[in-house]
Amino acid sequence: MYNVEATGELLLSGHTQATAPREAADERGQEAALVEQVRAGDREAFGRLYARYGRVVHGILLARVPYGEVDDLVQDVFMTALRKIDTLRDAGSFGPWVAMIARNRAMDFHRRSRETTEVTEAVAQTRAEQREAVEVLNLIRQLPEAYREPMILRFVEGMTGPEIAERTGLAPASVRVNIHRGMKILRERLAGDAGEGAMR
């Protein structure tokens, strides 16, 4: 059983944090170069940014909108990013910027539609083998907001904690704590669901 109450220990431990700043600086440099190339009209460069940040945008949207809607919204978000890339002041901050566009797009989606019906439809449309996955995903989406995004990026998109922090611009310590706490609550809820299933 995980015991993640000692937040201080979590924050202090983690040997990857020592090398993280250098790697992050390299990543930022590459990212800035790609953004400049896109601004100069390089289509391939934008394709590379899409490949690099597609998972992040997908995960952020998955934490907020129904599964069936996510693919279209990912395209929307990247189209918006492409159109507004000239307004990005710090070329090395494409990740946090596109993550913010994705969050705003998800909010827009909820303003214009009713989530309840679409969730049911989305579950009905998924294949039988994906149904369990969608149910667990819905459990994650019921977690506190701060835990949802890192949990989905970690489990659905398969990213590591340092990757999540670097691509979204969130603090590594926060991501670490949120993943562990979110996992603890998810285990409890999964155990609760299993108990209810056995009772039935």
Partner: protein, 242 residues
């Protein structure tokens, strides 16, 4: 210390691994991204200014101009209210003066009348009379000259103050006027020093009404600005979605 949940190092927990495999089915599947025919290039960035940069200063400018116009209107209204309140009073005083002569004037006009006489005496002696304190004898006047600081005489005030007279009074010109005309004019201007309560009440009411009008105009302008802002935001959002 290895922490599989954090950075996938070390031994994976069974449940973590199961969740990874289960939820991994929903992972992002990169689809070919349909890029538009032309990507924005740097030159267009220089030429195109973001909407927010253009719109907000314009709105702010429009708002400040509107406020300035409204403030000007309010001041004009206030001045007009003051004028319309004064005019009937002046006309009334003029009638009283014509009918009753010296007896209808109050203490203040008497004072100004005496001051005019004193001034004439002073000029006759070749001395300057800075103070306008009415005294009957020369000794008293001299004492006042030493003790009191120089104050402007009431006739001086009258001459220096732009006075809007009704048409009935207007024909009296300041040049070459007789002593009687000076007295009448002093009688006309003296009540302004101590305005009556009724006059104040009317003026206050008029001011309150003017202020209410200005507030209402401000409210309407504010609503219009809000509406314009909403329109701009909706247009911007519509363009973003497109």
């Amino acid at each position: 210390m290895s922490d599989y949940l954090w950075d996938k190092t070390g031994e994976p927990d069974a449940e973590t691994e199961r969740l990874e495999n289960l939820l991994g089915q929903l992972r992002f599947q990169p689809t070919p991204f349909d890029l538009p025919a032309e990507l924005p290039v740097r030159e267009t960035r220089v030429a195109r200014t973001p909407r927010s940069v253009v719109t907000w200063p314009r709105l702010a400018l429009a708002a400040s101009l509107t406020l300035a116009v409204l403030a000007g209107t309010w001041l004009m209204l206030r001045q007009q209210v003051g004028t319309t309140d004064d005019e009937p009073e002046i006309a009334k005083q003029s009638n009283q003066t014509d009918a009753g002569g010296k007896h209808s004037a109050s203490a203040a006009p008497k004072a100004s009348e005496s001051a005019t006489e004193n001034n004439a005496v002073g000029e006759g002696k070749g001395t300057e009379t800075p103070a306008a304190v009415p005294t009957q004898d020369g000794e008293g006047r001299r004492e006042e000259q030493v003790a009191a600081p120089r104050r402007p005489r009431v006739p001086d005030l009258v001459e220096n103050t732009p006075l809007r007279l009704p048409r009935a009074v207007a024909p009296h010109s300041s040049r070459g006027e007789s002593a009687g005309a000076t007295k009448r004019r002093d009688n006309l201007t003296a009540p302004r020093v101590e305005p009556k309560r009724r006059e104040e009440t009317a003026q206050l009411r008029a001011e309150r009404e003017a202020a209410e009008k200005v507030l209402y105009a401000l409210l309407v302008t504010s609503e219009k600005l809000n509406y314009a802002r909403q329109q701009v935001q909706e247009t911007a959002r519509g363009e973003d979605n497109r």
